[in-house]
């Protein structure tokens, strides 16, 4: 089916609407301060409904490409692609996004910047939807970077705290840097395959694997994915990102954004997958991330940190499964992806609620609040149920599907299954701790006495938790709708839906082992935590510290380079400029062996032309032997006037005219600069400097002369001259060809040039101003201005 124009517009609107809503979000917040979250949630809810309307088509195996002409002259279209994979992601983003927007209203109720927060969250949602729906890889990249930027804004939302700012910058540097590598990889794929459209690329699976550019493409795309999806060794930004308000953690850093890397790998699995590189690198990276994340999670007592590390572990699981690449592994990845989004989004919101109600989120400081927060407890319990993979939650089927990989009895698949088993058991222990420890057991005093959270904060966790179970109960229907189509899209062949309760000894056996191990770890959690903490005390260096050292080193390096290049000594700058000029003039002549021969006869000149040359020569002598600087400057003007005269004599009045004016103004301005600089009247150079500067001047002069000779000895191409002469009057209505070229034929060049002139004017003005005050006073003035600005800002803040 080819979508209609109207449908294409609607799909464009899906990605744009959250941005548009973001603009009015602060206004909505102002008019309905209490219920803004509910109102704004209508947008993601309707996006969800719209995407959901395609579910039958997609389930039948349709792939929809929505295209709108964008730059028709270049054949560039704005296109979106909807298949099983983007449908699942689109529904997760808009569905969970709906609850997150509602939840934010409760969690940040009364926060003075809540309106801004809504705007950021909605912008992020738009970026994420654009990312998963994009057909063109450049569009994908733009939205990819937008998610990094909006994530930066959200992590740093509480920007008055230093920890938030650091976490925000760290996340931006890591994910943004990975994004740049991804761009290079995407462009390289585009060049190799001759198309930028993912839908077209997907029609040639295996093409890239044979291509000579495969390895660089693989590495670049991989870096994009593993930085975004927090794989070891780039995982550290994710736990630090927990500085963000909890709705952000629930939405970006568990359910959606961090899965963008997984989406990328899944999306490109048919294009880049199936190779040795892919099937070795991804499972190893993912496996290491899974185990590292799960172990680090158990070390924490901050519940948000625990969830962050288990998220990292889950991302490792997904990367590992996509890398394994078998039909079962892909289907398992899709099941696990959705199951994880449901329970982890829910658990984050639960932890947010506990934090909001009790004033702490340290697992050792909260206990026995189930009576006060029954619904929250209900949500937490169901979510943890799915996280542990107990029957018949969605997590259970995800886990069964993962263990099905082992059925091939190949050693690498067994290894993956064992790693998954250990990871699952560790995550189960962490999940159980969060669901059980704060709610059951003896009641201990908390900083705030808890009440049940408001409805806005209950809706999300409760519904997601119920969904996690419902999807398990109706697994066959969900499989038809979501898991089979999305796995088919990733696998690039039909993956039939075989989901249901089958009693297969291998997966069931491994599941039982998982529960046993998980239960054991949970029972001995305190001991495990102690051991892990003891290890952490010994092993103090990690990539997190490495990041700081790297950034610090970068600044030091930049400082060092700046000191070398910008030494502030004018004569050295000038020498550098002229040495570069000489190099640029001589190098091509020497390298190509085209040094022009000396003309053997003197040119035949008329007597007035000789006269002008004589004036120029006298002017030159006056410059070199002038007693004072002022004389030298004015004599330099003589040179310019002589050139202007030559232009006039050769019939170029326009050039001559301009040359006169430029020369006059140069002399005036140079003379004025002289008075500003307070230089000596005379220029006292020592002998070595005279030799150095004079020599350099001669070398440059001779070089330019030779260049001119060389140019004059070749035949001039008169195509352009003829074109301009012929067309200047008929099509541009002007007889002054120079002017017509400037303002019509090449007006865009001129526009650029005058912008430069204006900018240079501003820069020079600033420089003169600073010099006028003297460097010390200049900096003092800036400091004073900053102080004034901050104090007045403080005044306005306190006034409002």
């Amino acid at each position: 089916m080819i979508p209609t124009q109207a449908q294409s517009f609607s799909m464009l609107l899906v990605a744009i609407a959250p941005f548009l809503t973001a603009f009015v979000a602060p206004l909505v917040k102002r008019f309905v301060p209490q219920h803004a979250g509910w109102v704004l949630a209508l947008i993601p809810a309707s996006i969800f409904a719209y995407i959901f309307s395609f579910i039958d088509l997609i389930a039948q195996g349709e792939k929809l490409r929505f295209a709108l002409p964008w730059i028709p002259m270049l054949g560039i279209e704005l296109s979106f692609y909807l298949d099983g994979l983007s449908l699942v992601f689109g529904l997760l983003i808009s569905g969970i996004g709906t609850f997150i927007v509602i939840y934010s209203g409760g969690y940040l109720s009364g926060h003075q910047h809540l309106g801004r927060f809504y705007a950021f969250i909605l912008m992020f949602m738009g970026s994420m939807l654009g990312l998963v729906l994009a057909d063109n890889v450049i569009t994908l990249f733009v939205f990819w970077e937008l998610t990094s930027i909006t994530s930066f804004l959200l992590i740093g939302f509480d920007h008055s705290r230093q920890a938030s700012r650091r976490a925000a910058i760290q996340a931006l540097v890591i994910t943004g840097g990975g994004g740049l590598l991804l761009l290079a990889g995407l462009v390289l794929i585009g060049f190799s395959m001759g198309t930028l459209d993912i839908s077209t690329m997907l029609q040639y699976p295996g093409f890239m694997a044979e291509h000579s550019a495969y390895l660089p493409v693989f590495i670049l795309v991989l870096f994009g994915a593993i930085t975004k999806s927090a794989q070891v060794p780039f995982h550290f930004w994710l736990p630090n990102a927990m500085e963000a308000p909890t709705p952000v953690s629930a939405f970006l850093h568990s359910a959606t954004m961090v899965k963008a890397g997984v989406y990328l790998l899944a999306r490109f699995n048919p294009i880049l997958g199936g190779t040795i590189e892919w099937q070795v690198t991804l499972p190893i990276l993912g496996g290491i991330t899974l185990i590292t994340g799960a172990l680090l999670a158990l070390r924490q007592t901050d519940m948000k940190q625990m969830l962050a590390y288990t998220t990292m572990a889950s991302l490792g699981m997904l990367v590992m499964l996509i890398g394994a690449g078998s039909k079962e592994a892909i289907l398992a990845a899709m099941l696990f992806l959705v199951a994880h989004s449901f329970y982890k989004g829910g658990l984050f919101m639960v932890v947010g609620a506990i934090d909001h109600e009790t004033g702490t989120r340290d697992i050792t400081e909260v206990s026995g609040i189930a009576k006060e927060l029954p619904i929250t407890f209900f949500g937490a319990a169901l979510a943890a149920f799915s996280m542990a993979g107990l029957p018949i939650s969605l997590g259970f089927f995800a886990k069964e599907e993962i263990y099905l990989i082992a059925k091939t009895f190949e050693w690498q698949h067994w290894l993956i299954a064992i790693v998954a088993l250990v990871g699952n058991a560790l995550m189960m222990a962490a999940g159980a701790a969060i669901a059980i420890k704060p709610f059951l057991g003896p009641r201990i005093a908390t900083p705030k006495s808890p009440h049940e959270a408001p409805l806005s904060m209950l809706a999300g966790p409760a519904i997601l938790a119920v969904l996690g179970i419902a999807a398990g109960v109706f697994i066959y229907q969900f499989g038809d709708w979501f898991f089979s189509p999305s796995a088919s899209a990733v696998y690039n062949h039909k993956v039939s839906n075989h989901l249901g309760l089958h009693f297969d000894p291998i997966p069931l056996g491994l599941s039982i082992a998982t529960w046993a191990l998980g239960g054991l770890i949970h029972w001995k959690l305190e001991t495990v935590r102690d051991i892990l903490r003891r290890i952490a005390r010994v092993w103090t260096w990690g990539p997190d510290q490495g990041f700081d050292q790297f950034m610090f080193g970068l600044v030091r390096f930049a400082d060092w380079i700046t000191r070398i290049i910008q030494h502030g000594r004018l004569e050295l700058y000038l020498i550098l400029v002229f040495v570069a000029l000489a190099g640029a003039v001589y190098a091509p002549m020497v390298l190509t062996g085209s040094i022009p021969p000396m003309p053997d006869v003197l040119p035949q000149l008329r007597f007035q032309e000789w006269g002008v040359l004589l004036i120029a020569a006298l002017g030159l002598l006056a410059v070199v032997f002038g007693r004072t600087r002022l004389v030298a400057i004015v004599s330099l003007g003589v040179q310019g006037f002589a050139v202007a005269l030559i232009f006039l004599l050769l019939g170029a009045p326009d050039l001559g005219f301009t040359q006169f004016m430029v020369e006059t103004l140069s002399v005036v301005i140079l003379a004025l600069v002289m008075t500003k600089l307070h230089l000596d009247q005379r220029d006292n150079r020592v002998f070595e400097e005279v030799i150095r500067d004079g020599g350099l001047a001669l070398v440059c002069g001779i070089g330019l002369t030779m260049l001119l000779l060389a140019v004059l000895q070749t035949d001039l191409d008169t195509t352009l001259t003829e074109f301009f002469t012929k067309t200047s009057v008929p099509i541009a209505h002007g007889r002054n060809i120079v002017n017509v070229i400037l303002v019509d034929y090449r007006a865009i060049d001129t526009l650029g040039e005058i912008s430069v002139v204006m900018t240079a004017g501003i820069a020079i003005l600033a420089l003169i101003r600073i010099r006028a005050g003297g460097p010390k006073r200049g900096i003092g003035a800036i400091k004073k201005a900053v102080k004034r600005a901050t104090s007045s800002a403080r005044k306005t803040r306190s006034a409002s």
Partner: protein, 141 residues
């Protein structure tokens, strides 16, 4: 240099140069001249006036800070390019309007002319900004 004669003549000279610069600007499409050279002449006029009457007096006469003129120039030049938006032709394509005057002559208005006026203002603004800033005595401020 700052003699009585110079000080007396300078305002007239500057005014004359400004008028001449506009003349040069407008004839530029067919005769030697144009926005660049016109702008240079106008900037020289301002520089001369500045030397004779003092920078403060020039700043008062100009009303706006000279760098504003440069910004205005870039704005006009870009604006002349956007005119093409209304007739759906590429950016900066020259558009012409010929008006027959009652005495039989023809008045030609065009976006390249507008563009050239923009160039004039940029050159005038940037150069006179620099010149005036340099002429200003440090004690003036």
């Amino acid at each position: 240099m700052n003699t009585v004669i110079f000080r007396t003549i300078a305002p007239y000279l500057a005014a004359l140069m400004i008028v001449f610069s506009i003349f040069v600007l407008l004839r530029g499409h067919n005769e030697p001249g144009g926005g660049f050279i016109g702008g240079l002449i106008a900037a020289s006029a301002i520089a001369i006036y500045g030397i004779s009457a003092g920078v403060a007096e020039v700043r008062r006469a100009l009303v706006f800070h000279p760098i504003t003129f440069a910004g205005f120039g870039v704005f006009i030049a870009a604006l002349s390019g956007f005119m093409s938006l209304f007739v759906e032709v590429p950016f900066l394509k020259g558009l012409w309007l010929f008006i027959n005057l009652s005495d039989g002559s023809e008045l030609a208005l065009s976006t390249p002319m507008l563009f050239d006026i923009g160039v004039y203002f940029v050159v005038l603004g940037a150069i006179s900004t620099i010149a005036l800033a340099l002429e200003e005595d440090e004690d003036d401020k």
